[in-house]
Symmetry: C2
């Protein structure tokens, strides 16, 4: 992490432009996780292991900037406040509704994952998703037409999900006609949003925009969204809104880290919403289709874990002097972070290319730089931070259980709290390592471990793999 990021953690610092931070090619970094790196190396995967110590040659002045931040007398109390607010969030699912209604989005308006980006710098998956969203919204009838309009920019605007209390997996594309979950923190009334999960394979969030993708989106808006709305509104009316925080706590005890593994969470979501879906009295075929769609997608619950994380990240934001990370996200070009004390300001670096296991016909060369807001899970202590609870993920890429434990144990070095609501059985029910402190990251050189899906590097292709990445050490 450069001095720009560190300086920026001091409220008075200037805005760092993405361009100024884009130096050198993206690289895969497994900082501090030697066992994992060894396991990957044994499979002939190229791995870069970074040096943890502060650079002796420090032209950017990282050490001096760090010293300034560490000397800030507000820091300790501010961090306690920020993390305390993060841990206090109790997220409930209170509604499901179209983005136009939930967020006031108008035709031509799009949200995307990661920090701000322009069309000319947009990655393939993000471009593909934008093209798909244009087709879905009826703003273009062919991909070429969509692309031309997006490049021209007239009547088109896009901005980060994160700037609208929203998060989205992978490309994270949100357009006005898409339906959104609305979560609310019962104590503060704060809200967050996320779109509905499309399933795997050819899906918009991986940049695919073929007819089947658009057709599925239409079904989701015509059937799935309204069905969930009815069920969720019945639950709310009965005084039983779904407690997402409680479900996340349970899934973490059931081998899900809530990012790359959501099997238990998805099954429990279906279990809890099913009586209400029945009471919604939809046409029989729609009900059957909705059950089959939710039940057939083990990542369905990811899109509820993410806005739960967003509520937690937002709760910790804007505490003057706090060095707690409140957002980690990627747009396929840049990796962006936000820090509590610097509010809405983005600090960016190049997005890394994840290392992972590839689907048939794909190789590491097909992998695209990291993309998605799903690292909001790591921002709040789960996902890769809680890898210990989901050793199946590490095994998936050739690692072993001790590697998974080592990852999470190291994450405690860079976090400020343990979340008792997200307890990890294999670590004797120790709470998830929560509240990443940028000063600890800089002092230790340990980077947050992020699990991720991996998009292909050509627009329109879709999911290639699942893998792991750390944030860029810019």
């Amino acid at each position: 992490m450069s001095a720009d990021a560190v300086t920026a953690a001091v409220p008075t610092a200037g805005r760092a432009t993405p361009a100024s931070l884009l130096a050198g090619p993206p690289s895969v970094i497994t900082a501090g996780i030697d066992l994992l790196a060894d396991a990957l190396r044994a499979q002939a995967v190229t791995v870069t292991t970074v040096d943890f110590r502060p650079p002796v040659d420090d032209p950017a002045g990282t050490a001096a900037a760090l010293a300034t931040v560490l000397a800030d007398p507000r820091r300790e109390a501010a961090n306690a406040t920020a993390v305390g607010r993060m841990l206090a969030v109790r997220a409930h699912l209170v509604d499901v509704l179209p983005a136009s209604e939930a967020l006031g989005m108008r035709p031509g308006e799009f949200y995307h994952a990661g920090p701000p980006i322009t069309w000319d710098r947009a990655s393939g998956p993000l471009r593909g998703a934008l093209i798909g969203a244009m087709l879905f919204e009826g703003l273009a009838s062919t991909a070429d037409e969509a692309e031309a309009k997006l490049a021209a920019g007239e009547g088109i605007s896009f901005s980060p999900c994160h700037e609208h209390h929203t998060v989205g997996p992978m490309a994270g594309l949100v357009s006005p006609s898409m339906w959104m979950y609305k979560l609310q923190d019962s104590a503060t009334g704060a809200v967050s949003y996320c779109s509905l999960n499309e399933g795997l394979g050819k899906v918009l969030r991986y940049g695919a925009y073929s007819d089947e993708v658009i057709e599925r989106l239409r079904w989701m808006s015509a059937v799935l969204g309204p069905a969930l709305q009815k069920a969720v509104r019945l639950m709310v009316a009965a005084g039983e809104p779904m407690d997402i925080t409680a479900l996340v706590g349970q899934m973490v005890q059931m081998g899900d880290e809530g990012h790359n593994r959501n099997r238990a969470g998805s099954a429990m979501f279906l279990r809890d919403i099913s009586p209400w879906l029945i009471r919604a009295e939809l046409p029989a075929k729609d009900t059957a289709d909705v059950f089959a769609f939710i039940g057939g997608n083990e990542h369905f619950f990811l899109n509820l874990v993410m806005p739960c994380g967003k509520l937690m990240g937002d709760a910790a934001a804007n505490v003057p002097g706090s060095t707690v990370v409140t957002a980690l996200c990627r747009n396929g070009t840049d990796f962006g972070i936000r820090v509590s004390g610097t509010g809405d300001q983005w600090f960016t670096g190049p997005a890394g290319i994840p290392v992972g296991l590839f689907l048939a016909g794909c190789t590491q060369d097909d992998a695209h730089p990291d993309i998605g807001d799903s690292a909001i899970t790591e921002t709040v202590g789960i996902g890769g931070m809680s890898m210990a609870t989901a050793p199946a993920i590490v095994r998936f890429v050739g690692g072993a259980v001790p590697d998974a434990l080592a990852v999470t144990r190291r994450m405690y070095e860079i976090t400020l709290a343990e979340n008792p609501a997200f307890a990890i059985p294999i670590l004797e029910f120790r709470g998830a390592p929560t509240g990443i402190d940028v000063t600890r990251v800089l002092r230790t050189g340990v980077l947050p471990q992020i699990n991720t899906g991996m998009a292909g590097n050509v627009e329109g292709r879709g999911l290639h793999a699942e893998g792991m990445v750390t944030i860029p050490k810019v």
Copy 2:
């Protein structure tokens, strides 16, 4: 375990009568699990730790009998065959139907958990369940009338579930009008049965027989059973019968040991059956009630894990010379086991009183000696044998994660195989310790660890607690 049991493991041995084995009061034994015993002791729970070494004073001739069995030249190959058959079972849910139809049961006929028992020796919970079943079947209109008829015995017969390819949790009562799951091993065509789970609290299987208990049983026969039948038959007709073995394998990776914890299994069962329940096109209220009933009971799947275990236990049975345990069960009075080489023969000892955590208003003094066929889970390597995967259970009674790991590690000492289909993440995906060998139990003194529900010691009361027990060392 006494010499009777050992001798009996040799096919030529005579039948051991329960009475001859009933010596001394039941006691709580935590053989080989010192950490756990320490944890319990710290909470002022009375614990007896047994000596593992073969008794120096050996009036029953255990050592000599063991030597005879160990010298049997058939033993090694026979055990390999028995365990191989146990591991090869692939259980599918192929039907749901009334016991009268599935098993040809007639009015006045009852099955129960555990080894054979007579009314005069029957425990409180078993008597309560028999009374309830009489009321449910319309064979009596008051509890007093039912009790008198059961004591008189005219037109009444009861026999162990285990003798009818059936298993039942706690009292394990099966009467002709109850609906049963039918599981089948796809390779051999072998079948097994289990009743539907009633939920917690006042339920027949814990010996309760109040109006609410009988009413629930009537609803289960009128609505739940037929609904599941329609859904399961649709699945079978579509060529997609539910693969119970696969679900058990998944739940074991999700913190369920399949006996005292079935949260993931129950959620996945509902997930997988839900589209078919919808397609069954029941009246809307029934569908809603069925979803709420299944979704509201985290032990619903126990009654599918158990017949899966029964198929595995039965598959290993009747291999001449094999010392593999094929059934562990209790009727609230006696603990019974069956061993492969001795086929249908029962060996019994006194049922132990489990140690556990009690519901409000109940204490250890209210606990009843162990009851139920649910130890079929331990017979096939899960339940207490796989405690490592469900440390939440040990924690429930004040133990810690290392205690749970120690339990399962020790179980490998008395088992012949590791089941790759039931892999335990926390043990680096080692397979569940499977195939209890009675000669190893005797040589090591390590007793199988059994998790259990705990009934009250007064008939008609219902669930008091959940706890742990080992088999009696008679």
